[in-house]
Subunit: 335 residues, 2 copies
């Protein structure tokens, strides 16, 4: 995989490129056309895993964490761009994770804010593999996709936006207002950026166009530091992508920071916040955003939800040495 | 609570005693007669928490962790018998837990070993409060209580045995062979032990008699180091109670240590294995069992399931300083 540039990994294009990468890693940010794929809800049969959903309160808001699944693939060379393999392996070993493969989970958040229902990111959609579980789990919870008022997107990687559309290419949440970061829209929708992008990244641009086509003229572009729903404010955390956005959810005296992809899996990047994942488009900028966010979260002892954290993906962060210690929030069996 | 002996806490008697203790703590090991109580499945309404169940494989065995709920109560003086309050508070703070209250979860394990279905411990039964969720969650999983072949009990505290009987006093798992540690039976069924016990502990003896009455002559008493079901072996870990038992589950090359109450909540007692919880009947013996078990688990990197660990209650333990670091097993959204 030495001939594989960071940008190729980021793009996650379909077909030949994906095949050349052992099939697994690019699918993490998959841009494979929906038409070529079958829904994968069947990946969790009745006798298999229980649908992974978990509720917690942030003030008066009810947060439902819903797993869209997890991808496991052989550990690629250079997954951590700026750390020696031996140090990466030591961090994995400390977390009782294997050195030869990597598992990246995906957790979407459903927010019930008063009578408004907001979905933050949408998962992998009708993708292949052990992902695309969101719609099946919503059904098991009795949540009608048409009951969702607002879909708020953090950034335009495929594992966050592909769930916006069904396998038939229609809106998956038919009554929802789709809201996207204006900086993200400006970058990915710019034909000049697409034409200048290396081949490996072009699929990502094409995927963005595919996903948003059914919403033409209807997508609301939001700025940073804006209240998108009561208590839900956009926070710019660029670096992972040019318009990458986190959210602060506040209700009463309680708060949750929805970090999106400020880090990938915590065993590596919460512990070692200066390490840069291959998916970060501007690694230095992403690392700076990470430091700023985590310094604040640890000082304020604020809960944080991470899209790629282990399900249910809510934790506290404590300063420890030069990095942070990840402390999962205690599971509440009764809401 | 200074006039409250360790033994009073342990007994968990009903009525006046419970009232005198703010109601909360003794209920953890509740011995309140079922007749005085209403089933509490309603504590998790449809619009509330999702039933807390999670499946994982140990070789060919399918383990289903099922939360029976969690009790939260004001932090009692002397909950940790042999550590200064300041150190206890520091450990709680490190885990982002409050100093003024304590939450103790209860997680029952259902094992599908080939076509044999085994339940390890039974939860709080039809008790008051945010517990007694086991039967409702089994129903939501489509698991008929009559499909359980074997119920294996670790020890005779109320939060482990009270689920053996319904509110009507009939067997909750009508077709199951009930298996109990012979050392535990010998202690709690001994009328001499009961008559010599301090008043605070007498309720515990009475509760054991109440719970096992519907099974008269039918309870199988097992020894330690015996295979109770294919791959499931009893391991003596006395101290918490005289006959307290853990289990080793082995299948193929995989294994799980089911520790029962070798420790209470990990933030305190995994981190500080020499600390003794007030519930340990013989604190020194319990601490010795803990050291022995955890030294082995950490050396072998073996998964461990704990009845009072945060749901879903499966973890690895790593030696760290004079104690152990608790590393939750990565949640698998697809089995």
């Amino acid at each position: 995989m030495t001939d594989l540039s960071r940008r190729t990994l980021l793009a996650g294009t379909a077909g030949a490129t994906a095949g050349a990468l052992s099939g697994a890693l690019p699918a993490v940010l998959s841009a494979t056309p929906a038409a070529a794929q079958a829904p994968s809800q069947a990946a969790a049969p009745a006798a298999g895993q229980v649908p992974s959903a978990y509720r917690y309160k942030v003030g008066d808001v009810i947060v439902t964490a819903i797993s869209d699944g997890m991808r496991t693939f052989p550990m690629p060379d250079g997954f951590v761009r700026n750390a020696p393999k031996a140090e990466v392996n030591a961090a994995l070993s400390e977390a009782f994770l294997p050195a030869d493969q990597l598992s990246i989970p995906f957790t979407v958040l459903l927010l019930d804010i008063g009578d408004r229902r907001v979905l933050v990111d949408t998962g992998n959609g009708p993708a292949k593999g052990p992902v695309g579980l969101l719609q099946g789990t919503l059904a098991s919870l009795g949540v009608d996709p048409a009951s969702i008022d607002q879909v708020v997107i953090s950034h335009f990687h495929g594992d966050h936006i592909n769930g916006l559309v069904t396998a038939e290419g229609t809106p998956a949440f038919p009554k929802a207002q789709v809201m996207v970061p204006e900086a993200e829209w400006a970058f990915w929708m710019d034909d000049g950026e697409m034409s200048r992008a290396p081949d490996g990244l072009k699929g990502g641009f094409q995927n963005v166009r595919r996903v948003f086509k059914p919403f033409e003229g209807k997508v609301e572009r939001y700025a940073w530091d804006k209240e998108l729903a009561p208590g839900l404010t956009s926070v710019g955390t660029p670096g992972h992508t040019p318009g990458h956005t986190s959210f602060q959810l506040a209700s009463g005296n309680d708060a949750l920071f929805i970090q999106s992809d400020v880090t990938n899996i915590p065993a590596l990047f919460v512990r070692h916040p200066d390490w840069q994942v291959t998916f970060d488009m501007d690694g230095d900028k992403a690392a700076a955003a990470r430091r700023k966010v985590y310094d604040r979260l640890s000082a304020d002892k604020m809960k944080v939800a991470g899209y790629h954290f282990p399900f249910p993906g809510a934790a506290y962060l404590a300063k420890e040495g030069d990095g942070f210690r990840y402390v999962p929030v205690l599971w509440q069996p009764v809401l």
